[in-house]
Subunit: 455 residues, 2 copies
């Protein structure tokens, strides 16, 4: 918590202890919902019963908003403490997309308790939305949008917005539908406000639509928002009927989610949704063990290279000392290239057909970088370690050569993964390191045999 939040938290606790509930309620009404939620999360560790008191003090609409910002575990304990009637009120006030997010996380008995309290029609709709796959456009959308007809005039449209707008997630983009709810165009509130009152929606609306369908992946949806600087995106079914809209605030979360997933894959972790402090030890171990195991087994093959060249090592034991440096530098060099290319692919800056450009670029950079590192190491070995020239040449030449190999390999593997429809992020640090480590050692011992004349 930052300073401001700590002050707010302490003020809330003080008012509660002194039982100044009407003052506390005033304070809450003047506080941003997300800040109330943050304070409640903090409170739940120290004084769990207080969170219920705070929550009961909130006016209905504010309570729903605060509720939507709470963690799943906090939501559960609130739900447990509420009467049927209060729960119904909160659920009614929730935005439709927050309602779905909430129901997705709740255990079956809570879902049942809540669905009992909604109309038949809403229950059907909720069940439909709960069926959209996680990470799909369908799971992100809301149904609270403004619909217009193209025969309306601007003043009729504004009147329609005034009467139906209060509960809508956004009124800044309005959707023009025909009788079968087919999406015919969109018109922004900006255009409506700036236009003459008698103009027709038909003449104002934008028909060149960007849209998505319920089953599209959320990453593609986020890419559309980024490319076209969108605020909202309509979701249509196969017949072109509008089924919902996606708003930018949810996309910001998707972008961070997708980035987290890439960070995790690039660190040899199985991606998952749980926050670090909330996840159980077992969940965390399951996330970490599989790749560690695969990479551990792979590294034993690298070890077997060392065994195979046992006699070289025994002849010139000093060669062993350079192994960590060669392995680490190869891994780091490959990792740099793969990270840059993975990121370039994720941001749409590098495409499949650019592979020759990447190859040529990595080749020249790696020559430059590899040569510099080789020279510096050569000087270090001669001047500081006082190795023999031949050993210094062996190590330094291996170093330069493996940097070139590692960078070309690291740069190309993400593109090859993408080509094979595998997530490029998998081709990052750990996997690349294991492979280029083996390369480095093979080059090293062959160089040693050759230059030092050991067989």
């Amino acid at each position: 918590m930052n300073e401001e939040m700590t002050m707010l938290y302490e003020e809330m606790m003080r008012l509660m202890e002194e039982k100044h509930f009407s003052q506390l309620r005033e304070l809450l009404v003047d506080t941003k919902p997300v800040d109330i939620a943050e304070a409640m999360e903090e409170m739940s560790e120290e004084a769990p019963e207080s969170t219920i008191i705070i929550f009961r003090l909130l006016p209905k609409d504010l309570a729903a908003e605060v509720f939507s910002y709470l963690s799943t575990s906090e939501q559960l304990s609130i739900v447990d403490a509420l009467h049927e009637k209060q729960l119904k009120n909160i659920v009614e006030e929730l935005n439709f997309d927050d309602k779905i997010d909430f129901l997705e996380e709740m255990p079956a008995n809570v879902v049942k308790r809540i669905l009992k309290n909604v109309t038949e029609e809403e229950r059907k709709l909720i069940n439909q939305f709960l069926n959209y796959p996680e990470y799909s456009a369908g799971s992100l959308m809301t149904i609270e949008y403004i619909d217009l007809k193209k025969e309306m005039t601007v003043s009729e449209a504004l009147q329609h917005i005034r009467t139906t707008g209060v509960d809508k997630e956004t009124i800044y983009t309005c959707y023009v539908l025909n009788e079968t709810r087919r999406l015919e165009g969109i018109v922004s509130l900006r255009k409506l406000v700036l236009a003459e009152a008698h103009m027709l929606i038909e003449d104002l609306m934008d028909e060149d639509l960007i849209n998505t369908s319920t089953w599209d992946d959320q990453e593609e949806v986020a890419d559309l928002f980024k490319k076209y600087d969108l605020m909202t995106l309509p979701v249509v079914d196969q017949e072109g009927r509008l089924v919902g809209i996606i708003t930018i605030d949810d996309i910001v979360d998707v972008i961070e989610q997708e980035n987290t997933e890439d960070f995790e894959k690039m660190a040899a972790l199985l991606p998952g949704d749980e926050e670090y402090l909330d996840a159980s030890i077992l969940t965390m171990a399951k996330k970490r063990l599989p790749w560690l195991l695969i990479l551990m087994i792979s590294a034993t093959f690298t070890g077997s290279i060392i065994s195979r060249f046992e006699d070289v090592l025994q002849a010139v034991v000093v060669l062993a000392a350079a192994i960590p440096m060669l392995m680490d530098t190869a891994g780091n060099a490959g990792n740099q290239s793969s990270t840059l290319v993975i990121r370039g692919i994720a941001l749409g800056e590098i495409e499949l057909e650019d592979y020759l450009q990447v190859l040529w670029k990595e080749f020249r950079i790696s020559l430059l970088v590899g040569l510099m590192l080789g020279l510096i190491n050569f000087a270090r070995m001669l001047l500081i370690v006082e190795s023999s020239i031949l050993v210094a040449v062996t190590v330094s030449f291996t170093l330069s050569l493996t940097v070139v190999m590692a960078k070309i390999f690291g740069g190309l593997m993400p593109i090859i993964a993408k080509k094979m429809k595998v997530d490029p992020a998998i081709m990052a640090g750990p996997l690349i390191t294991t492979i280029v480590d083996a390369m480095a050692l093979i080059v090293y011992f062959n160089m040693a045999s050759l230059i030092l004349g050991i067989h």
Copy 2:
């Protein structure tokens, strides 16, 4: 380019070759500006003169929008081809924040040529904006916002928006200023449209403002947008006067920029702004060499550990074969933990005071994971490699112990970095790997001396 873009591109090239310019112009007017920009970038490789033809065909306002999406190098070649008058038109039509972005990237002679054509007042303003540091709130803002007075009625405010709104970046959030331009509140267009015509702005406006100042870091600004689900954020000076606003579309770019920076730091790269395919070989080498060099030198210390235990290695050469596996697994295990904690800190899920929780969590996870890996390796060495029991015990016990050490170290280092006001992202893979590699070898050789009785 995707299929749709390829079709658009080929259609444009066909119309150009057949000199059907009026048809081409019609096609362009119906195309999204960012798609025209993308096609022009593609074209600039194959037929650079065609990009100028395309650009000249665009109506003035569309031309400015397309221009704002072009890469710096393409912008430069367009500027070179335009007459003074045409350039002035484009610059006039650019949004203020796009104008600043553009001028920041242009060489001095182009900036001079452009500033010659603007009014004295605008020149002053541009110079002021060019002085805000890169990555600051000031560098993100625009001055094109709607200002209201609190004495206005809703209908007066809407009238004011109608007369001044056309050139504004957004009209959805309006800023209520007093005579000295001090920010007194904000009111959304949503509230204005849904309110009664005679109501006063004073009674509608939200006075509990979230704002930022020109020198704040863009990462903090992005955090505010994420936490409060903002669409716009006012930027005020020390006297509380409104100097500009920041809009969500620019924040989406900031989020991706900050993520890229973290990815780069975590892969031992110096962060930088250039896109992969655009950056020169020298820029790229400079980005990569420093950390590679530091890590290479550090790894030589790891190597010196091997030298120090030369006699242990010579006594039981089979021990050398396990070195890559121990080093890689330690590095990967540490890397997993540091990545999760770095990401947790970046997303605000983990704070400084949580360090004991992280320690306790990593300890339990690492015990579980380390034990599993140790057991699997023990079985592998006995059954497949047919090592002696004592060697298998030495290697497996070292493995388990280093996984525990690596995970605790990897989990805590980012928090310590944060505490010392260093970017936690620096405490990722490469640096952690180098340190835990050394730990692994020290444990290994001491275990070997102890268990195998070599001195």
